[in-house]
């Protein structure tokens, strides 16, 4: 087959996965948050509200799309795409099984982090071009926290890379066939989860949206599908971060005690199931904790997470070298 055609099909598959994920995750979020708060969540559209998000998507697609007069047109129209495209591209390196990945990249982990760090740029564009002080505040906060937490996020993934000796996500999964890394790397897992919550603008750190203060932050001037794209990329980032957590710490698509031949058949299902469990955990956190202040967030990032990350990196590095020396 024509390699360009194959590439196009893979991108289409990624897009389909992303859209479907968005619909499922929004429903899941509303249900999980509802039940955490002893409520029901959506109930009326379809059985237990299952078709609610489909109806919401239809609404978003058919809605009027007004452009406020004062916006910076070019940036305003570009921003949703700049937010959306990286979060679509980030699916490229996620290994759904040994062979199921859009691209088998030697630097998969680096690629994912790199492409995800483009998202704050789009958010800043959205906040800046909206000509709205709340949007601007939201955009600035998002950029402040996401760029600040890129460092702890990368550093908390590094111990795993040290143990494996490769940035290829498939290699990282393969290295976990004996022992999932969340056991030896438990501190790194905690640090990674905190940092990824910040990267995702998830609730304990959702200052960029902060419903009660900034309306909807950077997305408040957007309507219709432009808003839909911003919203969708948020949920797709959630899936990617959860998928990375699974890949780095919970053995990716592999299951323990089951022969590899049997596993190969349903590896993608295992991966998605694990990812959804991690997403559930993120939503659980979201339904539990109140928002922290901006200065508290920066304090946590620079005064707690960064030193802790460096210390754990040191411990892991020494341990890896010691194990190597003993093995030799």
């Amino acid at each position: 087959m024509n390699p360009i055609l194959v590439a196009c099909l893979r991108v289409l598959a990624g897009l389909g996965l992303m859209l479907l994920n968005g619909v499922v995750l929004i429903y899941m979020l509303r249900k999980v948050l509802g039940h955490l708060h002893v409520r029901l969540g959506p109930m009326n559209v379809g059985w237990h509200g299952t078709v609610q998000t489909v109806a919401d998507v239809l609404k978003l697609l058919t809605k009027e799309d007004p452009t406020p007069r004062a916006v910076d047109k070019a940036l305003y129209f570009l921003a949703p795409a700049v937010v959306f495209i990286p979060s679509l591209a980030a699916y490229a390196a996620l290994p759904f099984s040994k062979t199921w990945a859009m691209a088998d990249l030697a630097t998969g982990l680096l690629f994912t982090f790199g492409i995800m760090s483009l998202v704050p740029l789009g958010i800043l564009m959205a906040g800046w071009s909206s000509a709205n002080k709340w949007s601007l505040l939201g955009g600035m906060r998002a950029v402040g926290q996401q760029i600040a937490y890129e460092v702890p996020l990368l550093l908390s993934a590094l111990p795993v890379v040290l143990m494996v000796g490769s940035l290829n996500l498939n290699d990282i999964v393969a290295a976990q066939d004996k022992l999932w890394f969340f056991i030896p790397q438990f501190p790194a897992l905690l640090l990674f989860v905190v940092a990824s919550l910040v990267e995702l603008n998830q609730t304990p750190f959702d200052m960029s949206e902060a419903e009660s203060e900034l309306v909807a932050g950077f997305s408040s001037e957007y309507a219709s599908m432009k808003f839909g794209l911003l919203f969708l990329s948020e949920f797709s980032n959630l899936f990617i971060m959860a998928g990375l957590t699974v890949t780095l710490f919970f053995g990716g698509w592999s299951l323990p005690f089951i022969p590899a031949q049997i596993q190969a058949g349903f590896a993608p299902i295992v991966f998605v199931a694990k990812t959804y469990l991690v997403i559930f955990f993120f939503m659980w956190i979201r339904g539990t904790f109140p928002r922290v202040r901006v200065d508290q967030l920066q304090q946590l990032g620079w005064k707690v997470l960064l030193p802790a990350n460096l210390a754990w990196l040191l411990v892991t590095g020494v341990a890896v070298k010691l194990v190597e020396a003993v093995a030799r």
Partner: protein, 161 residues
């Protein structure tokens, strides 16, 4: 000393406990809560077995009502019997205190359980409880001998002795 971060774990535990407790939501238009027996909503007139309103037009409820939402428009006939033209009720101003029902000496009105009171037309917030009906004649128990002292008087005498 508490372990650092134990508060976070405790918070997660509490929200999970809530999740497992199950929702307590009642989906109102589809499911309705059964009201307690003594719930107080709109004032309604009561009728006897024949369906005739038992209001005697004594006006006690009108005097009792702190919000002045009840009003009686009565004409007295030649034979001193009363005729109720309008016994009107301002639903929009009623606070459902139930004092009128407590005051009514003949149990002619009651607090109903009708709580779905939203109205499209504000004019419907004021309506008649009873319209154009002869007032009920209470059956008075005449004392056996006209000269005998009334019952309360003898009771007070008993108290004094």
């Amino acid at each position: 000393m508490k372990l650092w971060g134990s508060g976070l774990v405790n918070g997660l535990r509490i929200s999970m406990r809530n999740m497992r407790r199950g929702p307590i939501t009642l989906q109102y238009p589809f499911e309705k809560l059964e009201l307690p027996e003594r719930a107080r909503w709109t004032v309604v007139p009561l009728s006897d077995a024949q369906g005739v309103p038992v209001c005697t037009a004594c006006g006690t409820c009108v005097k009792t009502c702190p919000d002045h939402v009840l009003a009686l428009d009565v004409t007295t006939n030649e034979d001193r019997s009363k005729h109720i033209n309008h016994f009107s009720y301002q639903l929009g101003a009623c606070m459902m205190c139930g004092l009128c029902v407590e005051a009514c000496p003949f149990s002619a009105i009651a607090m109903s359980h009708d709580y779905e009171l939203a109205r499209v037309d504000p004019d419907t917030l004021e309506y008649d409880l009873i319209t154009d009906t002869p007032a009920y004649k209470p059956k008075r128990e005449k004392p056996a001998t006209p000269d005998a002292p009334a019952q309360p008087a003898s009771a007070s005498e008993g108290d004094a002795s």
